[in-house]
């Protein structure tokens, strides 16, 4: 596989210039994620109201893949119903790990397309965790204050 397929411009861009890269002052939910293998660390902050993700942001340090993934994730889930965000993750997770994806409603097709550049990691099993760390941390935040990973 060509490296440019993994490191597409959109990933390099979000990796170097992450969006929503800050803490939320009063998040309704947040969690820390850690990948002890490579030292990637991410904190995901969320504001949830009436089942809608009204705000999402993150802080942390990591590789281009993990930072780009967190950046794209926060960009996409912001303003979405929680259920849509979860479906997008399930779909994304399936596409990088080879599982069976859920049926995505037409309205989410565009968002799934935005995540597509990250699915290049499926050829690099060691990097799948980098691409999914932010999403797992997002889920942990929904369970409130949990810590993803170990080490």
């Amino acid at each position: 596989m060509d490296l440019r397929e993994l490191y597409q411009d959109i990933i390099l861009d979000h990796g170097r210039h992450p969006r929503h890269f800050h803490a939320l002052p009063t998040p309704s939910h947040f969690a820390h994620g850690h990948n002890p293998l490579c030292g990637d660390k991410v904190t995901v902050y969320l504001n949830l109201k009436d089942g809608i993700v009204t705000d999402a942001s993150f802080e942390g340090a990591g590789c281009a893949i993990s930072v780009a993934s967190a950046s794209l994730m926060t960009d996409i889930v912001k303003g979405k119903p929680l259920e849509d965000a979860r479906m997008l993750f399930a779909n994304f997770h399936a596409s990088v790990t080879g599982g069976s994806p859920p049926n995505l409603p037409e309205t989410l097709a565009e968002d799934a397309e935005r995540l597509h550049p990250l699915t290049g990691v499926k050829s690099y099993p060691a990097r799948v965790k980098c691409a999914t760390l932010a999403w797992h941390t997002f889920e942990a935040a929904l369970r409130e204050g949990q810590h993803v990973g170990g080490g």
Partner: protein, 413 residues
């Protein structure tokens, strides 16, 4: 890119010829293997030697009265003698076979360590691998002993003034790496042993990164325990060594019970064998010991001083090449590095570097190298680490330098 020269070869030592003895390089043409600090590749003599042992000399050891068992026992005990010679230990009774250095340190903690009293102190350093941190923390939590730390200086060496201060009449053991796994820093072991003994403390040296690349003489070092893993010395995984002074081992209780380590067993009571067998419960890794024997002989035939010269040459060459590469930051190595170098590249995370290198057939490790406290001290979340073996050449370093430029181009920096 700067033109890089080929290195003159250490006397009588041709890494190209040696490389031909490692089948992984013919199975993976173009492979640049720079991760020997994690595990060394295996030469044909080791792979074939283990297979041949299984084919023609294998049985359980120390048990059977039949020919094959006696032959396997001979090979197993001959391996112990080879390890003795490799470490220049005084007697084979001082050589205990374990799974690896991690198990060796756990053995010392769980056997010798159980004689410690609350308030006793163990001194470790900021350069240690998790294997030389965690067993002592577990012992501390179990026994209420104290665990003290020798800090790492900004230059990446040990703060020897702090070391002298942290040694107290309660210090019972100094557990220190001989060569640091992250940076290749060669610690001042002679001074460490001298100061520790003067304070009445024993010394355990973690030789995982030293044993594969320099002549280890436990009697000249005057250390009390020395540990290393076979798989980093071109031997198989699953076998390692604990060296311990005979008088110490004689006073240490067993740590695992089972067959092979006993003298007599009744349902009421058991009496134990002497060292080393007392510490080798159950069927050992017999073929592992045989493989280790062959690997150590392979190294001794090349000559440890020659291997050291080769690795020093490559290390110095790589340090010079990396330090003149734009955007590269070297992790401080205390001014004295052998066999391993950690570095980062501006803007590009080590994990991304490793993936890019992998596409260019360069294998090296990125991450925390089982040394999270040292990473924190160095102020980095992760580094890329290159490390050398007998099969590496200056061309491997050149390939790495080119790959860094390639990664920078990809990332637009």
């Amino acid at each position: 890119m700067t033109a890089l020269r080929a290195l003159p070869l250490a006397a009588g030592f041709d890494p190209r010829e040696i490389k031909a003895q490692f089948p992984v390089f013919s199975r993976h043409p173009g492979l640049v293997y720079l991760d020997t600090a994690a595990s060394a590749q295996k030469p044909d003599v080791v792979i074939e030697g283990i297979a041949e042992f299984y084919r023609s000399e294998y049985a359980n050891v120390h048990r059977g009265a039949y020919h094959l068992s006696m032959r396997a026992t001979e090979r197993f005990e001959q391996a112990r003698e080879t390890v003795r010679r490799f470490l220049n230990a005084a007697a084979t009774e001082e050589i205990i076979f374990v799974r690896g250095a991690t198990e060796a340190i756990n053995l010392v903690a769980n056997s010798w360590g159980m004689g410690l009293q609350p308030g006793d102190e163990i001194l470790i350093t900021g350069l240690e691998h998790h294997a030389n941190i965690v067993p002592w923390q577990m012992l501390r939590d179990r026994l209420g002993i104290r665990l003290e730390l020798v800090p790492v200086t900004d230059e990446g060496g040990l703060d020897m003034a702090a070391f002298a201060q942290r040694l107290t009449p309660r210090t019972r053991l100094v557990a220190c790496t001989h060569v640091a796994n992250v940076t290749g820093h060669v610690t001042p072991v002679a001074e460490i042993v001298r100061l520790a003994h003067a304070a009445g403390a024993l010394v355990l040296l973690d030789g995982c990164q030293a044993a594969p690349r320099l002549a280890v003489d436990v009697r000249a070092l005057d250390c009390d325990f020395y540990v290393f893993s076979g798989h980093k010395c071109y031997g198989p995984t699953g076998i390692g060594v604990l060296y311990g002074r005979q008088a110490l081992l004689a006073a240490m209780p067993p740590w695992q019970g089972g067959g092979d380590m006993i003298r007599t067993v009744t349902h009421a009571q058991t009496s134990y064998q002497d060292a080393p067998f007392r510490f080798e419960a159950g069927t050992p890794d017999i073929a592992g010991a045989v493989g280790l024997d062959i690997a150590l002989c392979f190294m001794m035939e090349l000559g440890l001083p020659v291997i050291e010269a080769h690795e020093q040459e490559l290390t110095d060459y790589a340090l010079a090449a990396l330090s003149r590469t734009r955007g590269v930051r070297l992790s401080p190595g205390g001014g004295c590095q052998l066999g391993a170098i950690s570095f980062t590249v501006d803007v590009i995370h080590p994990h991304d570097l490793a993936t890019i290198f992998d596409q260019l057939k360069i294998a090296l490790r990125a991450g925390q190298h089982c040394a999270q406290p040292l990473m924190e001290r160095l102020g980095v979340t992760a580094t890329a680490r290159l490390s050398f073996g007998v099969y590496n050449t200056a061309e491997d370093v050149d390939a790495l330098i080119s790959a860094i430029a390639r990664a920078q181009k990809l990332f637009g920096v």
